[in-house]
Symmetry: C2
Subunit: 197 residues, 2 copies
């Protein structure tokens, strides 16, 4: 006897990562009972984001225009291309204020168990980007987890075969750790000590 | 340099209970990158629920009509009125299949520290409902937590002063426990052994 619109909301909330039936129910009641304004704002933000956000033609991150602001900025050093897994990783590197090159955001990592291979990760788009003659060096800044290391290794192999100079963040980042949760000092150090591969 | 629509989505996701900045970011990336269909569905479900759901005039639960199906059902025993905190509690009591009366859903509990007093909980609406001459007995089925007990005590005092017969679920429900997480057998037992207060 739950109203169908409430059932549908609870079911829809389960698409959020880590949200099971009980959490979804709690969230639905909270939104409807305690925060209708927040709920309306969330509905509008979701619709708007789905409508306007797309991937930057150059760096693949989320943007509202064809080329994102960062890629379009002539003051960034176009000879350096730093490859990260997610926009959150990019944000952490920016916070170190020790890097002025460009980025390429994979929007994921190779993960054969989850069915994410080179094709799903659109590595051809990355290779096309890295083949830009303006790029003198590609810096691999994927996470130092098993999947991130495997991703870095695969990309290094692909790019080296095409004569692109490839480096990897130094191991200042703890093995098994994730960029997003690392302090900026460590990331800055790892940028300085990047090694050729 | 995050697009404003992405920033706004991350900020809007924080209205969900228990979701901090990092979780909101992870959720936003997941929705946009991995589950755009789920995101669209969530946006529509939210808008629709906000539009059509309201509180039943009689029992205060969420419904799409003026009076919910349960309250409008002539086969339910209108002489019994069971008071619960949330719709999830009501659902648990229904699952015991040992109660055929009506309900009143508080949509919360007295919680002075969170600024929820008798006025915020709209206890006057409950009192008006319980004063219906058809109601022979009010069964308090708030949780057996401190706040639930305090809520039951306050309601019992208010209703007893108006000559309404009030009972409380027996202590078959473990002290400190919550209805939502109790097995139906225990709740059924507690319904049978309800005591006058």
């Amino acid at each position: 006897m739950t109203p169908s619109s409430l059932d549908e909301l609870i079911e829809a909330l389960r698409c959020l990562p880590g949200v099971g039936p009980k959490s979804a129910q709690r969230m639905a009641y909270h939104l409807l009972q305690r925060d209708q304004r927040g709920a309306g704002r969330l509905a509008r933000a979701l619709s708007h984001a789905l409508e306007v956000l797309r991937h930057c033609e150059r760096c693949n991150t989320f943007t509202e225009s064809e080329i994102c602001e960062r890629c379009a900025n002539p003051r960034r050093d176009a000879s350096l291309l730093c490859i990260v897994e997610m926009p959150a990783d990019l944000a952490m590197i920016e916070q170190t204020q020790s890097y002025n090159g460009l980025y390429y955001v994979l929007m994921g990592r190779l993960s054969p168990l989850d069915g994410v291979g080179p094709r799903e990760l659109k590595l051809d788009k990355l290779i096309a980007r890295a083949n830009d003659p303006a790029v003198a060096e590609v810096i691999l800044a994927t996470n130092f987890t098993n999947e991130g290391e495997a991703t870095a290794h695969t990309i290094a192999t692909l790019l080296s075969a095409r004569g692109v100079k490839v480096s990897r963040l130094s191991r200042g980042v703890p093995v098994g750790g994730e960029l997003e949760h690392t302090d900026t000092g460590t990331i800055a150090q790892a940028l300085v000590e990047r090694r050729s591969v």
